[in-house]
């Protein structure tokens, strides 16, 4: 299961990250690392990108990158 599969309001823990993507690395710097609990927010118009809440901040993440984060509810 990946971050892209979470429903609005659902929480999950990041278990694994495919780091072969420059944008994913930037998201990791912003706090999206393994072991962190994230909460899915509302998606933008058209369902992409997603708003993800992580340790007090909101991040904007495109589905393409969200699929690289494996999560466990």
């Amino acid at each position: 299961m990946t971050l892209a599969d979470l429903r609005t309001g659902e929480c999950a823990v990041i278990t694994q990250i495919d780091t072969n993507d420059q944008t994913v690395l930037r998201l990791m710097v912003l706090g999206m690392v393994e072991g962190v609990t994230v909460q899915q927010g509302k998606a933008a118009l058209g369902g992409d990108p997603l708003e993800v809440h992580v340790s007090g901040c909101s991040l904007s993440i495109r589905c393409e990158q969200a699929r690289r984060f494996s999560v466990k509810p």
């Binding site: 780091t19 710097v29 912003l30 509302k42 118009l45 007090g56 991040l59 904007s60």
Partner: protein, 716 residues
Amino acid sequence: MAGRQQTHIPISSITTLPKLAGTVALVGPPNSGKSTLFNQLTGLRQKTANYPGVTVEKKAGRLRADKVLLEAIDLPGIYSLSPDSIDEQITLDVLLGRRADTPRPDSLLAVLDVTRIQQGMYLLRQLLDLNIPLLVALTMTDAGQRRGLRIDCEALSERLGGVPIIPVVATTGENLEQLRIALGAIFDTVESKREHSWPALRDAAQAVLNKAENSKQIDLSEIERALVDQQSILATELQQQIGESAVRELILQRRKLFDSAPALAQEARYGHAWAGQQLQGLIDEHQGLSHIGHKIIAFIQQPVPAMLLFFVVMFLVFQAVFAWATPLMDGIDTAISSLGLWVQTLLPPGLINSLIVDGIIAGVGSVLIFLPQIMILFLFIIVLEDSGYLARSAFLMDRAMRALGMSGQSVIPLVASFACAVPAIMSTRVIATPRERLATILATPFITCSARLPIYALLIGAFVPATRYVGFSLQGMVLFGLYLLGIVGAGVTALIVNKLLSKGERSGFAMSLPDFRLPNFRTVTMQLLDRVRVFLRRAGRVIFAVTVIVWALAYFPRSEAIDTTGLSGVDIEELENQQAANQLENSFLGRAGKFVEPAFKPLGWDWKVSAAVIAGFPAREIMVAVLGTIYAVGDDADEHTLAQRLTETTWPDGRLVFNLPMVVGLLVFYALCLQCASTIAVMRRETNGWRWPIIAWVYMTGLGYFSALLIFQLFS
């Protein structure tokens, strides 16, 4: 750009003559309240300049810290020491002492947002490892309190080896005095031993340094950054400095430390684990009070309400541009006309009189009148930005913008170009994908910038009736329509660029979304005043110079005065007006205008309009100034406003020059044409060559010309 030099010291402190103790740099993530705090601490004792070679603003100023003064600089916001843009690169270079123009700061003031403390701690770890005396200002504590968030600053400070942590509210200045006291003692607390947060990284860097050739000139921190950010500018430069054996050691150590995983990912894991450990047990977060404000904010953050709100607000702004600004503009208008009349009676008629009244007052004045409207527009943009709405619309619009070949991040430059395309094009640097960035750069000049507003307002005010439909002014609606035209032009252009350029590169988009908040009065006012200053400076320099030149071209060569002896008063006036018109037609400007007139006659423009449009190519608002001067020189009745003069202009055969198809054509020409030398210059710099600015100029000018031609020919 020349900076404003304001370094006077307040009277109160002159008596004690505090001495300059050193420099302090404000560092922190974007939106953490850095600029607000900087303004609070330095007051008006600040100057703005650019870092040489790049157009990134450098703000510096003196601040009073208890008993000493500190020279403070505000660095561009960063999330980490791995730079993603030119702005962030500058911050890194200054922090490592790698910029010749800015010495390495003696101390750091880390500005961290308490509501995003995890992100802040991530940066703080890297800053602490730089081994520069450091102080933390924890901002947004009011917002934190409202959320029910509390942090034990003392315990955290202790965990960090005694780094002072001062909670403040940057907007109100709460607890600022304590911050000043701590800043005054910033150089006294250096000696307390701080351990490196990542010993393995430091050891690896030390091993590399030991093998480096000129190890004296290299700081351990520089090698640490080079170890983590392999592809960075810093790493490349450093590898050329340290010599072959050290480079080999660098590669070896990097492999030992990170194995095959990306080093940046490893650092992110390590850094966030570290930050979590430091904060463990020190954060007390209970459910904050949920009041009606939060519910409203949560509602308008949703996609559909947010979009609707945007268009409603924009529509209202254009209503306001006419409704609110009119009384103010009338006031300025009256003041300028009476000034002109007064000067006219004061000076003897002749050269100087005409230069001042017809040239300078009429020319510069006709642009100054639009200051109130431009201020309303700027206010709107500043509020959008300051409330966090702009960042949120970048998120909301990402999908739609991608369909046009741009990115959500393009929204920020596009909205910024409602003010001016130049800073907008510079802010496209945040767009990581070159193709999306190019599409955005070519789209921005279509967006109606504030320099287009004077000509729109002049023509709409003169030719669109001030009637109302269901309470909305028709003039406001026409203006809104012209803005929409600009938006459509931008969208279509981006689409074309996207079709012409090959695809293939993957695009990324990751950003931190700030929460909505009520804009702060002080922040908004400061920014608004800044914009007004820029506008006035432009009017005072460029437009002033051009009006004087245009006036001279319109005034010379002089023809013979007509003998008026023996004629009645009415005849004299008639004759004088005719003479003024003849004079103008035979002036240098008149001859040049007549020369180009054939090219613009199919658009319905007479030589005066043609000349003004041509003069407007370096900067569009010049056109209004030139019209002001031309019509003032060619008209003896000085109590007429420019708008009145325009409505009365006729062709030699008596037909009105400004008929509806011509006016609409002229407006559309203005909406589409690229008449701005500064935009062309910044395009050249940002795209590294003349190719794109030339393409953009030909494309936009052609589009404007043929649209105006089509409209005039079809409808007249």
